[in-house]
């Protein structure tokens, strides 16, 4: 499959009145790939979906498919599927009527419609639901019907707008794996919008991180998690050990000094910086190159791991340890160690 086939966004801008919703958004979605659009609520994700779908026009920039610009092509001629946040099922049509809608619009004949509806309902695990009234479906069922409805006409691209957002946690965890399987099984090109990093990491081949209408990082899930580009990304991914620091050259080596100590910083630019200490690359004991000692202020048990709050020189730091590791009682002293090449990341402070 040609890598350059698929969706291309270049320089998309959109404002609502004085409010800038999107600025300079550019990225690609290759054929057969699932891209997660990850970002906090209100960062412009849904607006972007509307623009890709042709429901809304960008003020500037271009959406193209296989390098053919889609400017001026109305939504119903793009053959892009969109699954809405709370599904937008047609309440006046039953499950069959909802799933068949796109096929009827594409003027399929009755037999092929019937066959296709049966096929996609089976794909989403809802065989035999065709005659059901959509107003009586549970949240999970409605979600699957909505997915089936957007998949039925074989869209070139399917976009899912927070498809699990309105469901409760246990259902969400189950459905996210089902969703991945369905998307992979049908080799569907997909954009998956979410504010939940876990969902994004599970589902996506690549992740596009957005904030305040801008793309701030694009990469593989592991890449983004291991190497956040910015303080914002680190914080958004739940890494809270961020300290002010100063990068200096000491002879041949560069070091960064913080309130809790001085660490080597190989590639950092001299000057003021923000230092990230990754919470899960630290272990109790003194085996590794750098070590810290402090008072264990708090622990919270989270199943497979324990989050420990350690106060080092009046700075509170969070660490995640596997829960089988024995820890001193709260109030006791704890020493931890880490490899700075793994656990420390330095972001220059922009002026």
């Amino acid at each position: 499959m040609d890598e350059s086939e698929g969706l291309t966004l270049r320089g998309i801008e959109k404002s609502f009145g004085a409010k800038k919703a999107l600025s300079g958004v550019s990225f690609d979605v290759h054929r057969g790939e699932t891209v997660a659009l990850l970002g906090p609520s209100g960062c412009g994700k849904s607006t972007l979906l509307g623009i890709i779908a042709g429901l809304d026009r960008p003020d500037q920039g271009e959406v193209s498919w296989n390098h053919v610009p889609l400017t001026g092509i109305p939504s119903h001629q793009r053959n892009f599927g969109l699954m809405f946040q709370d599904f937008a099922l047609f309440p006046h049509r039953d499950v069959f009527g909802n799933v068949a809608f796109g096929l009827q619009m594409a003027k399929w004949n009755a037999e092929s419609i019937e066959a296709r509806v049966e096929e996609v309902l089976e794909l989403v695990g809802l065989s035999g639901f065709a005659g059901r009234d959509v107003n009586t479906l549970s949240g999970g069922e409605a979600q699957r019907v909505a997915l089936a409805r957007s998949l039925a006409p074989n869209p070139r691209l399917i976009m899912l707008d927070e498809p699990l957002g309105s469901l409760d946690r246990t259902l969400r965890e189950r459905l996210v794996f089902d969703l991945r399987q369905i998307l992979q099984h049908s080799h569907q090109t997909a954009i998956y919008v979410t504010h939940d990093q876990e969902e994004a990491f599970i589902l996506a081949d690549r992740v596009v991180l957005m904030n305040a209408g801008r793309v701030i990082q694009i990469g593989l899930p592991e890449g983004i998690y291991r190497h956040p580009d910015s303080v914002f990304v680190a914080r958004f991914l739940g890494m809270n050990n961020l300290l002010p620091g100063l990068v200096e050259s000491k002879g041949d080596v560069k070091v960064v000094s913080t309130e809790i100590g001085v660490f080597p910083a190989t590639d950092a630019i001299p000057g003021p910086a923000t230092v990230l200490l990754r919470p899960d690359d630290v272990q109790p004991g003194m085996e590794l190159a750098c070590s810290l000692s402090g008072v264990l202020a708090e622990t919270s048990f989270r199943g497979g791991m324990v989050r420990a709050k350690l106060v080092v020189n009046k700075v509170a730091l969070d660490f995640d340890f596997p829960s089988y590791i024995p820890l001193p009682p709260v109030g006791g002293m704890l020493t931890v160690s880490f490899d700075p090449a793994q656990a420390v990341q330095v972001f220059p402070v922009q002026n």
């Binding site: 509307g50 779908a53 042709g54 429901l55 109305p74 939504s75 119903h76 001629q77 793009r78 053959n79 892009f80 599927g81 969109l82 809405f84 937008a88 047609f90 309440p91 006046h92 809608f101 796109g102 009827q104 619009m105 594409a106 107003n135 409805r149 957007s150 006409p153």
Partner: protein
């Protein structure tokens, strides 16, 4: 204390409760019994008194008469056609108001609201002022082309009836459908578009089916109004057209054939009651739709030039229909025109206050002539009496309804209070004529007849305006005030009164405005020497002469201003979203 007395003392409050619970119902129900049910029963009796051959004979008589069949048929199809036209004209507007945010929107909604509440006689006069033989359009054309006869024949045509009905009822579509549409999830349409439906197919397959409850409700309400249309048909339609309502009036006033009028009224009543029940059913469904969204999700600005152009075109047409007749009415009432003198083709026109000045002059110096200013006084008096009566009856009823909406009494009486709304005005008037002209209740000569009839019409509005606000006074509020040291009197003054004060004002204004503009019932029961303003307008419009015409317009202008002011006051005083209609 012995057991019997304990039991008794436990029961006594119970009995007291029953009495106390039903006592607020006494006055309103007594009133309805005397002035609604008794007259209706009399109509029934009058109708059946005619048929010697059994209960159905009078109805067979009506059906077998070609002219009556014509009336029935005309009533139905003019209502159907008017409703269809109103829907076609109103739906684009409902879409515009529902889906777009633009400047002046609230003004437009308010304007359409005013057209809805204007008395029929004012509307008739207004269309006369723009398209009638002496109206602006004809004057302008005659002046321009030197014609002797007015070229536009609008008054006394079917087109006039249809236009006036569209003028009246468009606001129903805008409000009922527009409001529902604005809460309809716009993503339903977007979902359809991403599934390959173009705009047209989205409308047909998704939007319209979802709008159906609102569309049906609006259409039913409009049909009811058109079905019982009276003033518009009488004045704008002329003698060639008669709906059931007009025919009842003709049979009563012109031919004094009360039994036939009674039978027609029964037929009409059956129709309106069925339609009203259907309407109530459908409108109840509107409140529980499952796809409604807050409005902020659904409204956009008009962005491209095409949508702006279409919107402007539509709004221009809407404003032309709603505002032009009224503007013509007001301006024409200050204009004196002289036909061209010989040798000239130019009309002479100048500003005049004559029509207003003449209102208090008895030019004919006739003993039987009543100057129009008398009508203003009479209308004022009737309206004040109606207001007092409607409030006196409506307040206890609303209080009882608010206190316990689910009690059996409330459940039976609530729909009963609304019955007069589902009964046409002329039928109410006819009922008074056949019922209240003999002992024990001989009110033929009584000046109370008109305010009683008006109270019947206004009473449901008063109850509907008061109930929500009375319901909003929770006992907790008063208790809170008393805990903080307010005496019961102070609690009433500072808690209850401010809360229901506005509602009372709204209710009173409703009653006042309804009485001021009422024509159907008044036309039947008003005494000739005490005409109301609408009756006077009707007299002037049906008499020839420039002065009569001008005075009709002057009176209509006054009436329009009073009604518009009343409605603005109601809008102003109404607490947001209160009022259950």
């Amino acid at each position: 204390m012995d057991r019997g007395r304990v039991a008794l003392s436990r029961q006594a409050p119970y009995i007291g409760n029953v009495v106390r619970r039903s006592s607020p119902w006494l006055a309103p129900l007594g009133f309805l019994a005397l002035f609604y049910f008794y007259p209706l029963a009399s109509i029934l009796q009058t109708s059946f008194a005619r048929g010697e051959a059994g209960l159905v004979a009078p109805f067979i008589d009506v059906i077998s008469s070609a002219s009556m069949r014509g009336v029935l048929w005309f009533t139905l199809w003019q209502a159907a056609l008017s409703t269809l036209l109103t829907m076609l004209f109103g739906l684009p507007g409902a879409f515009l108001l529902a889906r777009y945010e633009f400047r002046g929107k609230s003004v437009i909604l308010a304007l359409t609201g005013i057209s809805f509440v204007l008395p029929t006689l004012v509307v008739a006069a207004a269309f006369n002022a723009i398209l009638g033989p002496r109206g602006w359009a004809n004057l302008a054309l005659m002046d321009l082309f030197g014609l002797i006869q007015p070229p536009i024949h609008f008054v006394n045509t079917f087109l006039a009836i249809l236009t006036a009905h569209v003028f009246y009822n468009t606001t129903i579509v805008l409000r009922i459908v527009g409001d529902y549409w604005s809460h309809l999830d716009p993503r339903m349409g977007q979902a359809a578009q991403t599934l390959g439906a173009d705009r047209w197919r989205t409308l047909v397959h998704v939007t319209l089916p979802l709008l159906m409850p609102a569309v049906t409700t609006a259409a039913l309400l409009i049909f009811i109004f058109n079905f019982t249309s009276f003033g518009v048909i009488l004045v704008l339609g002329g003698p060639r057209f008669a709906t059931l309502e007009v025919e009842i009036y003709n049979q009563t006033i012109g031919l004094f054939n009360l039994p036939l009028a009674a039978t027609l009224a029964m037929i009409q009543l059956v129709f309106t009651l069925c339609l009203t029940i259907a309407y109530t059913r459908f409108s109840a469904r509107l409140s529980s739709p499952n796809t409604l969204r807050p409005r902020r999700f659904s409204q956009r600005c008009l962005t491209n030039w095409r949508s702006r152009l279409l919107a402007s075109l539509y709004l221009t047409a809407l404003l032309a229909l709603l505002v032009l007749p009224l503007a013509a009415l007001v301006t024409r009432s200050f204009l004196r025109v002289e036909p061209p003198r010989s040798g000239s083709t130019n009309w002479e026109a100048d500003f005049t206050l004559d029509y207003y000045r003449e209102l208090s002059v008895n030019r004919k110096e006739s003993l039987f002539y009543t100057p129009p200013t008398t009508a203003i006084g009479v209308s004022l008096g009737y309206a004040l009496a109606t207001t007092c009566l409607a409030l006196a009856l409506g307040l206890p009823a609303a209080w009882a309804l608010a206190r316990d909406a689910r009690s059996p009494a409330s459940r039976i009486f609530d729909p009963m209070l609304m019955l007069p709304l589902g009964t046409s005005a002329v039928t109410l008037g006819l009922g008074f004529i056949v019922a209240l002209d003999q002992p024990p209740l001989d009110l033929r000569a009584s000046i109370l007849l008109v305010p009683l009839a008006h109270t019947l019409v206004a009473f449901p509005f008063v109850v509907r305006s008061l109930t929500p606000s009375l319901r909003s006074i929770r006992p907790r509020l008063r208790q809170a005030a008393e805990v903080m040291g307010a005496t019961p009197l102070q609690a009433f003054r500072h808690i209850d009164l401010p809360i229901i004060g506005r509602a009372l004002l709204v209710a009173a204004t409703f009653a006042f405005a309804i009485s001021f503009g009422e024509f159907g019932a008044t036309a039947l029961v008003a005494r000739p020497e005490y005409p109301t303003i609408p009756v006077m307008i009707y007299r002037y419009l049906s008499q020839p002469g420039a002065l009569n015409y001008g005075q009709a317009l002057a009176l209509s202008t006054l009436l329009a201003v009073i009604t518009a002011l009343s409605m603005l006051a109601i809008e102003r005083f109404r607490v947001a979203d209160v009022g259950e209609f």
